[in-house]
């Protein structure tokens, strides 16, 4: 029932301006984030699709966002984010958090 409802809502959302949740994509390749900065709207829920193109697992982690998610090798994880106040929210790939390439920021405007 819930699934039916969400399918109905999604198809409704697809045909109107009423989007259920905006999606943003973040890619991990060779333990580096691309892009390093993602701008999202304030006060809204968004879905962050984290695409791990490496063969090894990665962990998207952000203490400011209160999020942590392990993404298996060559797969995509979805992280629900928001609603947030405007500001900068850093995140890291926890398994390589000391590498500059494995650090990024969500900018909320």
């Amino acid at each position: 029932m819930k699934r039916l409802l969400s399918i109905a809502l999604l198809s409704f959302a697809a045909t109107t301006a009423f989007a259920a949740a905006d999606e943003f994509t973040l890619t991990i390749k060779d333990h580096a984030f691309e892009p390093k900065e993602i701008t999202i709207p304030a006060g809204k829920k968004i879905k962050l699709l984290v695409v791990n193109k490496d063969a090894t697992p990665a962990e998207f982690e952000s203490k400011p966002l209160g999020r942590e998610k392990v993404i298996a090798g060559n797969s995509t994880g979805t992280v629900n984010i928001g609603p947030l106040k405007p500001g900068r929210y850093p995140f890291v790939e926890e398994y390589h958090e000391n590498d500059a390439a494995a650090q990024g920021t969500i900018v909320v405007k």
Partner: protein
């Protein structure tokens, strides 16, 4: 090498603190050492299993399987800790009134042993699965190769166990009169901290509203990644930027367990309990 040591230290510290508190809180229970060891082994086996099927778990429940799984483990552990504390609020007093050796005799419940086993296993499972994945990733990807990973991992593990051991030794120095009240407070805060983490996963799964995200930011005062912040996170669930819902869960668990302890106490002390609980 350093990254491996640091990550394994952080994860093993959390599990090690939980194990130390449980070991202290169940002082006097016969063969508790064996049950702790069994819990660690079961937790490690579970962690390897979870790590190997992480992709599968993630894809379940429309992509929020991992969040539900983590929240489930944490809530189960909160339940076990709550039960332990409420039960101990009767027996702890008896035990405190008597010598440790006598306590050992009256305090021999099989249910309490299964609590030790479960809490330890769940803690190791939860913290261990991420570590296993990390070590696997590092061992297969880094040029430094397996040797450095294992070396770093082991030194991180040793450091984590050392801090846990120090806590345990410190708890043992508490006079017996206060002992079970103080370990009880530790267990209570541990349960509340796990509940708050469970709330965080349920927010991430979009099943709960965040009620303010974050509610406050004390990272300038005490960063969560600092040594003190990490320790406080493991002990009482300190977070520099918590969501409002996490605070609700934290407070609710503290109130519920305290109320449960008061309630069993108000029914009068159980003198010669017919059923060895």
């Amino acid at each position: 090498m350093f990254a491996a040591a640091l990550i394994v230290f952080r994860e093993s510290l959390e599990a090690s603190l939980i194990i130390s508190i449980m070991a202290a809180a169940t002082l006097g229970i016969a063969s508790r050492g064996r049950w702790i060891a069994a819990g660690i082994l079961a937790g490690l086996a579970g962690a390897a299993l979870v790590a190997s099927s992480m992709g599968l778990i993630s894809d379940m429940a429309s992509g929020v399987g991992q969040e539900l799984f983590n929240a489930g483990i944490l809530i189960l552990a909160v339940g076990m800790l709550a039960w332990h504390n409420i039960w101990m609020s009767i027996h702890g007093r008896e035990m405190a009134a008597q010598a440790k050796s006598t306590a050992r005799a009256i305090h021999d419940g099989s249910r309490e042993r299964s609590v030790i086993f479960m809490v330890v296993a769940l803690a190791v499972l939860r913290e261990g699965s991420e570590t296993v994945l990390f070590l696997y990733g590092l061992a297969t990807s880094s040029e430094d190769g397996l040797r450095n990973t294992v070396g770093g991992g082991l030194s991180g593990l040793a450091a984590g166990l050392l801090v846990g051991g120090l806590l345990y030794a410190g708890l043992l120095r508490i006079p017996l009169r206060w002992f079970f009240s103080i370990t009880g407070v530790f267990v209570l805060l541990l349960a509340a901290s796990m509940a708050s983490q469970a709330a965080r996963f349920l927010i991430q799964a979009d099943l709960l509203p965040s009620l303010g995200a974050p509610l406050w930011d004390s990272s300038g005062l005490l960063s969560q990644t600092s040594a003190a912040g990490t320790l406080l996170h493991g002990l009482i669930g300190y977070e520099a930027q918590p969501a409002g819902m996490q605070i609700v869960f934290y407070v609710a668990v503290v109130l519920a367990i305290t109320a449960g302890m008061r309630w069993v106490n108000s029914r009068g002390p159980v003198r010669n309990s017919a059923q060895p609980a």
